[in-house]
């Protein structure tokens, strides 16, 4: 039997009962469409996380106070970054002791209620040094970032994130020179950072930066840091720099057993790996949800094909009587089910992409449809056709022509 004949026979068979074929295709459309849409959400999350990590800065080591999460569990771990073990002195020692350090920015961040001319907001106030902007790739929209002088002089100046500016002064207003009150202390606004987009889990646009000396002197009243951000000059030196930093901090904290360390160091690769594994799980989970509807669609195919085989028993008998072989019959029915799923698959891919773009347009969720997920969906739909069409096709092929011709 020629392929063109096979396709023609299949086409006629499927158009014979348009409503039924249509509904069966719809089942596959929904299945494939939901797989594509779901995976696009997962992959969108992954892409946006990668972007946000790149926007944080490259070759970054971050030292956090507090115990290592892993280990023997002897220590009670309080909230991430809240332990009071790191000081400015530690930052200085790292800057001097690790040759690969290019920039270093200690930071102390806490949330405060901020007021400005009758408006108020609650956001995190980051006390840091000028190098913070370079390390984390912050650009200025207007004004200036903190300067060395500001830090040395414990100036009461503040740099606002664009979202914070919008909240306090309204969109597009230039707030430079205006006063804001943090914890009842007046600060002068000297700059606004450029938006980095609300990517990932934390907004980098909703922040206020003030000199670290000012923060420690007027707001926290102590010498402790919530993290030290270190930019390493070369990616290849990351591992050695991390080791050196660990050694310096262990020595300065008088700790001999590295397992007892009262700080931990994250590098960007670790963060990326962790978040990637989280989003991968997320993607697999979402894909599985879509996969269930695809499975239901596949069962629909099988149901339809079994009904068709029963209905067309006499036709199968006739085809066998005029010389069709088992192989001809099974190929014909298999082609019918694969045709159903492939048509459903193509429409489903289009539908899934449409859903994905609607989601990213009208909600905060970013989506991304990759070629891989399209290929996967297409392959899966063809496999569903073969898998769920195989049994009905075999049943049709195995019919005895004499009995099939007599079938009422």
């Amino acid at each position: 039997m020629k392929t063109s004949d096979l396709l023609q026979e299949t086409f006629f068979a499927l158009t014979m009962n348009k409503a039924r074929s249509g509904l069966t295709i719809l089942g596959i459309v929904i299945g494939i469409g939901s797989v594509i849409a779901m995976i696009s959400i997962g992959q969108g999350a992954q892409v946006s996380i990668q972007q946000s990590i790149q926007s944080i800065g490259s070759n970054l080591l971050v030292v956090y106070p507090g115990a290592q999460m892993s280990g023997t569990g002897r220590q009670v771990s309080s909230g991430f970054g809240t332990a009071q073990t790191l000081t400015l002195a530690d930052a200085d020692k790292i800057a001097q002791g690790v040759p690969a350090v290019e920039l270093i920015a200690p930071e102390t961040s806490h949330r405060y209620q901020i007021t400005a001319k009758g408006t108020n907001t609650n956001t995190s106030v980051v006390g840091t040094t000028p190098s913070y902007a370079q390390i984390k790739n912050f650009e200025m929209e207007s004004g200036l970032f903190l300067s060395e002088q500001d830090v040395r002089g414990s100036s009461k100046v503040a740099v606002l994130g664009p979202t914070t500016r919008d909240d306090l002064f309204g969109e597009g207003v230039n707030p430079i020179g205006q006063k804001i009150r943090i914890n009842k202390i007046d600060f002068t606004v000297i700059g606004v950072t450029q938006s980095k987009g609300t990517s990932g889990f934390m907004s980098q646009d909703d922040m206020i930066f003030i000199p670290i000396s000012t923060a420690q002197l007027f707001l926290t009243g102590d010498d402790y840091l919530s993290s030290i951000n270190i930019q390493i000059s070369n990616e290849k030196l990351m591992a050695s720099a991390q080791e050196q930093t660990t050694a310096i901090l262990l020595a300065s904290h008088n700790i001999s057993d590295p397992e007892m360390a009262d700080f931990q160091i994250l590098n960007q690769a670790d963060i990326l790996a962790t978040l990637t594994s989280v989003t991968n799980t997320f993607t697999v989970f979402l894909g599985a949800v879509g996969g269930i509807s695809l499975l239901v669609g596949g069962i629909g195919i099988m149901n339809m094909m079994l009904t068709t085989v029963t209905e067309r028993t006499r036709e199968i008998g006739l085809r066998k009587a005029i010389g069709a072989k088992k192989e001809d019959i099974s190929r014909q029915f298999l082609t019918e089910s694969v045709m159903l799923t492939v048509i459903g698959g193509v429409i489903g891919i289009i539908l899934g992409m449409a859903i994905a773009s609607v989601i990213s347009r009208f909600t905060q969720v970013t989506t991304s449809v990759s070629l891989f997920s399209i290929m996967l969906a297409f392959g899966v739909s063809a496999a569903v056709g073969i898998g769920f069409g195989y049994y009905p096709a075999r049943r049709a092929a195995a019919l005895n022509p004499i009995e099939a011709l007599r079938y009422e």
Partner: protein, 237 residues
């Protein structure tokens, strides 16, 4: 051209054994028009299935054009049916809601005949079966019973088979259209020397053939030339 030698057929269902044919032998020459007649349960259907290569005998031999087809596999039987046998059934067995042309072309798609030749062959077969040309594009369900059976005859002819097997071809037709169908068989037999085997339970129908084999309880009880063949005039309708 066709030789049946001491064929038996036994069906087994569980403990029960039923013998449908007990030692049937006969020959058919090329261009013969034979009627196999017998009441229901006589074994004529079983014999037809064996003659049509749909089934194989339990013992004995069946030679179709000098080839023993009594011990072939299912696939080999299908191959034999494809090239050597044309079936006409009581209930027509046309594809529903499908054009006449597609119905007749159906056997050709299984034997890889090129597209250009198909149409020629289909139209020729339809003309021989006596279907008016303006009906060629009609759907099978728009035709009358007599027309449907002629489409079925055309389908049986299209592969140029050695043997045409007609199983109660007039069973679903009134006597007038039945006559037209029988006339078609007579004409095909006479004008084109087609070998036709007609299976029926009615003596009246059987009497349209040259030769009648009467079968009862799985054995031949009468086999002879039909001296008073009912000849129908072969005017093309």
């Amino acid at each position: 051209m066709l030789e049946v030698k001491d064929i038996t057929k036994t069906y087994r269902s569980g403990e029960m054994e039923t013998t449908a044919l007990r030692g049937v032998s006969f020959n058919v020459e090329r261009g013969d028009f034979l009627a196999i007649m017998g009441p229901s349960g006589s074994g004529k259907s079983t014999l037809m299935h064996i003659l049509g290569c749909l089934d194989t005998p339990t013992s004995g031999h069946y030679f179709l054009e000098e080839k023993d087809v009594s011990e072939l596999s299912d696939e080999e039987l299908a191959e034999t049916r494809k090239h050597k046998i044309g079936f006409v059934f009581q209930s027509f067995n046309l594809l529903p809601r499908t054009t006449v042309l597609r119905n007749v072309a159906l056997p050709l798609i299984y034997s890889d005949i090129p597209e250009e030749e198909r149409e020629k062959r289909v139209k020729e077969a339809l003309k021989r079966a006596g279907l008016a040309e303006e009906r060629f594009g009609h759907l099978s369900n728009q035709l009358s019973g007599g027309e449907r059976q002629r489409v079925a005859i055309a389908r049986a002819l299209v592969n140029n088979p050695s043997l045409i097997l007609a199983d109660e071809p007039t069973g679903n037709l009134d006597s007038k259209t039945g006559r037209v169908v029988l006339e078609t068989f007579q004409r095909l037999n006479e004008e084109q020397r087609r070998t036709v085997i007609l299976i029926t339970h009615e003596r009246y129908i059987a009497e349209h053939a040259h030769r009648i084999i009467n079968i009862l309880d799985g054995a031949i009880v009468e086999d002879g030339f039909n001296h008073n063949q009912r000849l129908l005039n072969h005017k093309k309708p």
